[in-house]
Amino acid sequence: MSYADLVAAATVGVARRPVLVTGLAGPAAAHAGVLDRDDPAVAVLDAAALLVSSHRAGVLPGTGMTPPAPADPDTVPELPASAADLLERASVAGPDLLADLLATAAASGYRAPAPMLPALLDAAVKHPALRQAVATVLGARGRWLARHRADWRNAIEAVAPDVLDDPAVWDTGNRPERHAYLTMQRGRDRQAARDLLAASWSEETGDDRANLLAVLAEGLGPADEEFLERALDDPKATVRAAAQAMLARLPGSAFSRRAAQRAVPFLRVEPGGPQYRLVVSLPGGVDGAALRDGVVTTPPSPAIGARTWLLTQLIAAAPLTEWVTRSGLDPQRLVSLPVAEHLTAAVHAGWRLATIRQASPAWAEALLTAGVVAEAARRPPAAWPRDQHVAAVLPPSARAALATALLTGQTNLRAGFATAFVCPGPWPQSLADPLIALLEEAFATGHWSGSPEGLLRAAATRLPATGPDDYATALARMAMFDACPPYWRVQLRRAARDLALRRAFGEEIR
């Protein structure tokens, strides 16, 4: 009798269907003599006890399992255990801090310890902002591990695709692989990359077209104009937007000339005596060609009139060099000119949009230094790009200098903080010191417009964590000011803790 027979008998019930338990299977057979002969229920239990014991003891191992191909050996050392403990604590504290420590580890020539890899890959899946930092510390082991799970693999490939230098990738690769291949080609030979894309253009999906077209932004030049001009007629809106954005950055393009012609009639500089002024008139409407070039006629807020918005749109599309050339004034001067008819916000909004589109550092600096335009306060971001987006146009190396100038000059503190916010860490002492002084003043008096949360989060990962000045102590001290509101205290203590952790981490691995 097998165990299955016994289970069948027990399931039905020996009272309902009597059984005779004889002859057991396997090694238990030798002990069948001990089975109870009088009561079939006892006999079933006896026999089951024998078979269960022999099954339990007779477990056979699995066979024929092929281990996976092992990971390539790593050349970079793992973080020492003491630093790994700090990394573990940082991963609980939040993604910003973790990203900072991972970057420090990579810069010092370490990779993440193997036991931490699953948690780091999970974090990369959850926080796209962490992916780059995680990818740099994976090492051969981490990349090997990431290939075992689709979500891990996708998160890492999105920032660090394995680029195969093989033309076949272009024909058979997946989306990130093809994107990486085209990017590599673009770096090597701009024209060849554009030709490659042009050849398969009609077969790409809309999303792929938008995604791949953006690759041309690298090394953009007049030779790309014709291809981009054709993309303005693409059925997919995201493709058209990508083409418009790139053409706007080509000052001599037909696209830019068309935009200039549309805007110039409505904004001119009038040399009225010693004081120049900007004379503005409102456009009545636009033609189909303007719509094709990306002019949006619907205001993003009902508080903005349709014609005022159209003025902003036309200025936003026109090349900024046009105003400098026509007036002979530099951006600094231009943004300080009075605007007639209470249209300062409309004109400046156009310039801010144009500054971002055309990535003009000179205009970004001029606009941020110019100060506040009162009427702009209630505009939505689409009609008034925020200071930090304007500041992001500056090359990273120039942001600290501008932020320092704005904060020490105290003319436009808000723009100063916004510029510091986009300034990569570690901040130089020349920026950190005035920033700490201003924070100290704000928390001592309890006056701060808005929430300091974003700035404190940035400060926690970008204030220098090495060197003589201990900014963690400075932040912790501010949390004890009587006038400091409780919610800010929490933020300050958190920033101080993060900063202290960064300092400790840096000391562990140096």
Binding site: T11, G13, A41, A48, S53, T63, L117, P118
Partner: protein, 433 residues
């Protein structure tokens, strides 16, 4: 009154017996109420209720507790239909006498220890005699219950209590002072709702309890090691003092793995050790009496540390569970274990251990292997290609990360279903999984 019912169908059924018609020979005296109720059986059921408990007894075969007859009797008593009597019926009086004996035994157990005198020793011997009888009677009852299940058929379990079908017999085993059996019954109680193949798993559970009860019947003729195993599985506790009085095994004990088990009634922590010189395994079991391990010194042991100390094993075979006696040095971080085995070592030591204790559930495993995925399941394959299935809800990502496709030293618990990997050595570092 109806709030005492285990479920709403019992309430309805009891309400049906709330009239006087099925009842005969009933009465109430003091806290005791009794009566005979005509049911579907040949003889009327004999029902008794002790209002002081309240406690119930009924000769009906219902698995519910209290049954509809006890509830119906109470309804009648509450409505004033049950007449006062001077003397209770024979069966009710006998039941109350045995109940009060049991209650006083339980009270005696909690009395503070007194200076050992000859009289106390005699009392202790008498108590232990009493307990032995009580356990024997309880296990006899268990055997009958098991046989009843097999006779009626596992498929005949009523739908209403499939998820807790053995709770009542488990409670009886608590009364019979066999807590080990009671816990085993509670573990198998929800098996009928555990999905495909449950009759096979349930019969296996029954068979092992049956084997235990039969072994207890022959306790006197068993060899001492096996006798200790049976007593411990039934739930006889050996005091820590008695264990510490046994000969010590001194060694440097490496902490292989730590596992927290959140199993009722008390959360426990299992700490697996291995002697550097003797190569012997040992298990410390700690209980979080207050819900955490604060104040339990041994609970701070972590994998990869080593303890130079005397260990005392509990009686039983194979020797496994132990307590720490005198310590010779502070706990310190130690080198990885030497001589990790392979799949064959684990399985053959498991088979040998089952030969000594057929009720064994988990067994220490220390082996070198590589995590391998086969279909949906993960395995740990040793260099010879033999593999053990890995248990766990999640794929073993951390183990895989440390392995990188190469064999690694893994410590864990082997049980019937597979290996629970608890620690992996990453170079010199023990990484908890």
């Amino acid at each position: 009154m109806l709030a005492l019912a285990p479920d709403t169908s019992s309430q309805r059924a009891a309400a049906g017996l709330g009239g006087a018609s099925p009842w005969s020979c009933w009465g109430a005296s003091g806290d005791l109420v009794w009566g005979s109720c005509a049911g579907s059986g040949k003889d009327p059921y004999q029902v008794a209720v002790d209002l002081a408990g309240p406690a119930y007894r009924c000769s009906c075969p219902s698995r519910k507790f209290p049954c509809k007859h006890a509830l119906g009797l109470l309804l009648n008593w509450a409505d004033g239909r049950v007449p006062e009597q001077t003397e209770p019926a024979g069966y009710a009086a006998a039941w109350r006498a045995s109940r009060s004996a049991r209650l006083s035994a339980a009270t005696a157990k909690t009395e503070p220890p007194q200076t050992a005198t000859v009289k106390d020793a005699a009392a202790a011997a008498r108590r232990s005699q009493q307990r032995a009888h009580r356990v024997a009677a309880g296990l006899a009852e268990l055997q009958m219950w098991l046989c009843d299940q097999i006779r009626a058929g596992l498929s005949a379990l009523p739908d209403t209590d499939r998820h807790q079908h053995a709770e009542q017999i488990a409670a009886r085993m608590v009364d019979a002072q066999a807590p080990g059996v009671a816990n085993a019954l509670r573990r198998l109680s929800p098996i009928p709702v555990s999905g495909d193949g449950w009759p096979g798993r349930l019969l296996a559970g029954y068979a092992q309890l049956h084997l235990l009860a039969r072994a207890y019947d022959h306790l006197g003729v068993l060899p001492p090691g096996l006798r200790a195993v049976v007593r411990s599985r039934v739930g006889f506790v050996v005091s820590r003092e008695d264990v510490l009085a046994s000969p010590p095994v001194s060694d440097r004990w490496l902490v292989l793995a730590v596992r927290d088990v959140d199993e009722p009634p008390i959360p426990a922590r299992r700490i697996w050790l291995r002697g550097r010189d003797t190569g012997r395994f040992a298990l410390l079991v700690l209980y979080a009496a207050l819900g955490n391990f604060g104040g339990v010194t041994d609970a701070t042991l972590t994998p990869g540390t080593e303890l130079d100390a005397d260990l005392h094993y509990y009686p039983g075979q194979p020797p496994l569970r132990a307590v720490i006696g005198s310590r010779r040095a502070k706990v310190a971080t130690a080198a990885p274990p030497e001589a990790a085995g392979d799949v064959t070592t684990v399985l053959s030591s498991w088979a040998a251990a089952l030969g000594q204790d057929p009720w064994l559930i988990e067994w220490p495993a220390l082996l070198a292997g590589t995590p391998v995925q086969a279909g949906d399941r993960w395995h740990l394959a040793d260099p010879s290609g033999a593999a053990l299935p890995l248990l766990g809800l999640e794929p073993p990502w951390r183990l895989l990360a440390v392995s990188g496709g190469h064999p690694v030293t893994v410590a864990g618990e082997w049980s019937q279903g597979g290996l629970t990997a608890l620690t992996v050595w990453h170079g010199d570092q023990a990484v908890p999984l």
